[in-house]
């Protein structure tokens, strides 16, 4: 039973990956109009020459907030982990 489920999951995942690779839009022709809008309007709307910075901090600012949270979590995790290891080493 477990083997059947494992094979089913594996085949489904492989089918999704292959379908994603086959159905991908051609390189250099993105399917949306959003990028054209940003390139045309970012200088007037956000007063930015760097369109990447405009997307990163203005149009998609919430995503950058998540990125900053990821960094914060990484720092907290590393400091906690190494301090805990230190204490255990001292005890033994």
């Amino acid at each position: 039973m477990r083997q059947i489920v494992a094979w089913f999951v594996l085949i489904t995942l492989v089918a999704f990956l292959v379908a994603g690779a086959l159905l991908m839009h051609p390189f250099g022709y993105p399917p949306s109009d959003m990028d054209d809008y940003m390139i045309a309007n970012s200088q007037a709307e956000t007063a930015n020459n760097n369109v990447v910075a405009a997307v990163l901090f203005d149009y998609r600012g919430l995503d950058t907030l998540g990125e900053a949270t990821v960094l914060f979590t990484a720092v907290t995790g590393v400091l906690l982990l190494f301090r805990a290891l230190k204490k255990r080493e001292k005890k033994t």
Partner: protein, 153 residues
């Protein structure tokens, strides 16, 4: 701790690394780069100092409490600028057109000016502070652990 040649060279070089990192952070809205990239440059300068002088020497000047204050300050600047535009929407660029970082460049290719960008230079600065302190803390904690010491509070 490495030899005297390495220590002298890295002592001279750290100034240029810091200046270049700050340049990348503060010009993030004009040229390629930004807070994350410039912070990584400065953190790699910290790595250079740790390699040259040893982590026991660096932990005297980089304390954990200072690093956490800097990181939280950067995060507060970032989220504060995001909430300040709340009158319109979250993450609204409310400084465009005002005297503070408010110059609007002409559409199309132009030489660029630092005094543009609205809230984005300030956010870049906050994210830069956050990345500097965070990556330095990670690197220093790992280096101190591998040499069997503990971080200074």
């Amino acid at each position: 701790m490495l030899s005297k040649i390495v220590r002298t060279i890295s002592n001279q070089l750290i100034l240029f690394v810091l200046v270049f990192g700050l340049y990348i952070i503060m010009h993030g809205h004009v040229t390629p780069g930004g807070g994350f990239q410039g912070g990584a440059v400065i953190a790699s300068g910290v790595v250079m100092m740790i390699v040259a002088f040893g982590s026991g020497e660096i932990k005297k000047s980089l304390r954990e409490s200072h690093l956490s204050v800097i990181e939280s300050g950067g995060a507060l600047i970032f989220i504060g600028m995001a909430f300040a535009g709340m009158g319109t929407v979250f993450f609204y660029n409310f400084l465009v057109g005002t005297p503070v970082f408010g110059g609007i460049p002409p559409t199309g290719p132009n030489p660029g000016h630092v005094w543009t960008g609205g809230v984005i230079p300030i956010m870049n600065f906050g994210v830069g502070l956050k990345v500097i302190a965070g990556l330095s803390a990670i690197v220093l904690a790992m280096a101190l652990f591998s040499s069997g010491e503990e971080m200074e509070e």
